[in-house]
């Protein structure tokens, strides 16, 4: 039955999303379902039943009049859309998740960087720069890796019904681990100051633990926390991106899977423009501030603050960037 459903959905994918079209699709599906069920109950093998149902479906041209549209061939505007195959969708998710991990690791390394001057005095400064450069390198590499998918933003694309279903299921299944990683990440950021506080209480101001271990641990914990926060959204944003490809005016844009993930419409264009450069700006500020003041022990605070601010903005505009 899944095959029949996919067949029908692909026939209808490019049609405008009107009540007439929806009604016709439901009615035709119902008829096909009845026929399929009966063929199966007569003892026909699955494949044969599917074949019969599809061969007796007819052609969409006949429906043009009932659907209140001039022509159903191609559906001019939409036939321009590039169909993303199921395999491409999977590859995209894989690449996007990996790049996000790389970015996470890069940011983590940058956050780790002040540890070196803290632990090792002279050579530490050199290591700091090496570490930052590796971190930045990872971020750049991640962006280059993703450049092959630029066409998703530049060209009109769409996904078919079965891919949408697949992505939606994967998205739902990923919810738990996403929330878990995010929560743990935030907790890490919050508890990062605990070692410092404890060692402050336990040891004198000149003690090894007070000056070195406490601050160093702070960066380690924050770094891991930020990595978790960034990685938590890795797959989810890829899923959301794929589900947002289908044109809203078409049947394909109205798949249950697509609709369920669609954010309510808000006047978010301006906000989205600002937010598109948000993280880059934050990174710039962080690097400039850090290198000018060399207060690496304080400047990291920009990351958790930026994350919180981002969260507030998101909920204010009720949208995703």
């Amino acid at each position: 039955m899944e095959t029949i459903r996919n067949y029908l959905e692909s026939m209808f994918a490019n049609l405008p999303n009107t009540p007439e079209v929806m009604c016709a699709k439901n009615e035709l599906l119902s008829m096909m379902e009845d026929k399929f069920t009966e063929l199966i109950s007569e003892g026909k093998p699955q494949n044969e039943a599917v074949g019969i149902v599809i061969s007796e479906f007819g052609n969409l041209e006949e429906l043009a009049e009932s659907l209140g549209i001039e022509s159903v061939v191609g559906g001019a505007e939409i036939s321009e859309r590039r169909l993303l195959t199921n395999e491409e969708a999977r590859n995209y998710i894989y690449d996007a998740a990996q790049s996000r991990m790389l970015i996470g690791l890069g940011v983590m390394l940058i956050i780790f960087s002040p540890i070196f001057p803290i632990i090792l005095n002279d050579i530490g400064a050199a290591l700091l720069f090496i570490d930052v450069s590796v971190g930045v390198g990872l971020i750049v590499w991640a962006n280059i890796r993703m450049s092959q998918w630029k066409f998703l933003d530049n060209t009109l694309c769409c996904i078919d019904y079965s891919t949408a279903e697949y992505v939606y299921t994967a998205k739902k299944n990923n919810m738990m681990s996403k929330a878990l990683m995010l929560t743990i990440g935030i907790m890490f950021c919050i508890v990062s100051v605990v070692p410092v506080i404890i060692f402050e209480g336990l040891f004198s101001a000149k003690d090894y633990y007070y000056v070195i271990v406490g601050p160093a641990m702070l960066f380690v914990i924050v770094g891991i926390g930020v990595l978790l926060i960034i990685a938590s959204g890795a797959k989810d944003s890829a899923y959301a991106k794929l589900l947002s490809l289908n044109g809203t005016g078409t049947v394909a844009g109205n798949y249950e899977a697509v609709r369920a993930t669609k954010e309510p419409y808000t006047d978010k264009k301006k906000a989205a423009e600002v937010m598109s450069v948000y993280w880059r700006t934050v990174t710039c500020i962080y690097i400039i501030w850090s290198f000018i003041s060399f207060d690496w022990h304080i400047t990291w605070i920009i990351w958790p603050l930026a994350a919180v601010f981002n969260g507030i903005m998101k909920s204010l505009f009720n949208t995703k960037w």
Binding site: A24, S30, K35, E56, N59, S66
Partner: protein, 111 residues
Amino acid sequence: MIEISSDVIRGYNDTMILFILMEEPSYGYEISKKIRALSEEKYIIKETTLYSAFTRMEKNGYVESYSQNADNGKKRTYYKITESGKNYYHEKCLEWTLTKEVVENFIRGDK
């Protein structure tokens, strides 16, 4: 084997559907099954043909649709013939008799 050309039968899909609805209200698949059985498997109506006939006839007021749960609990759209549908059916019957008479005059069984 000779198959019915869809051009020829097109004008009479409505007649077949209305004939079945004269007995009792029915739904998509049941109607297509009955057409198939009554034609002794010689004519299988396509789903799209059936659906476009339904919407066209509903627009012309020959049938009315309503949804009802079938025996297995599935929600289906049922179609019911109207008075004007019955009139239309009778007209079509007369039209067919005439058509048959005319065309018959030009048919030769031999080669």
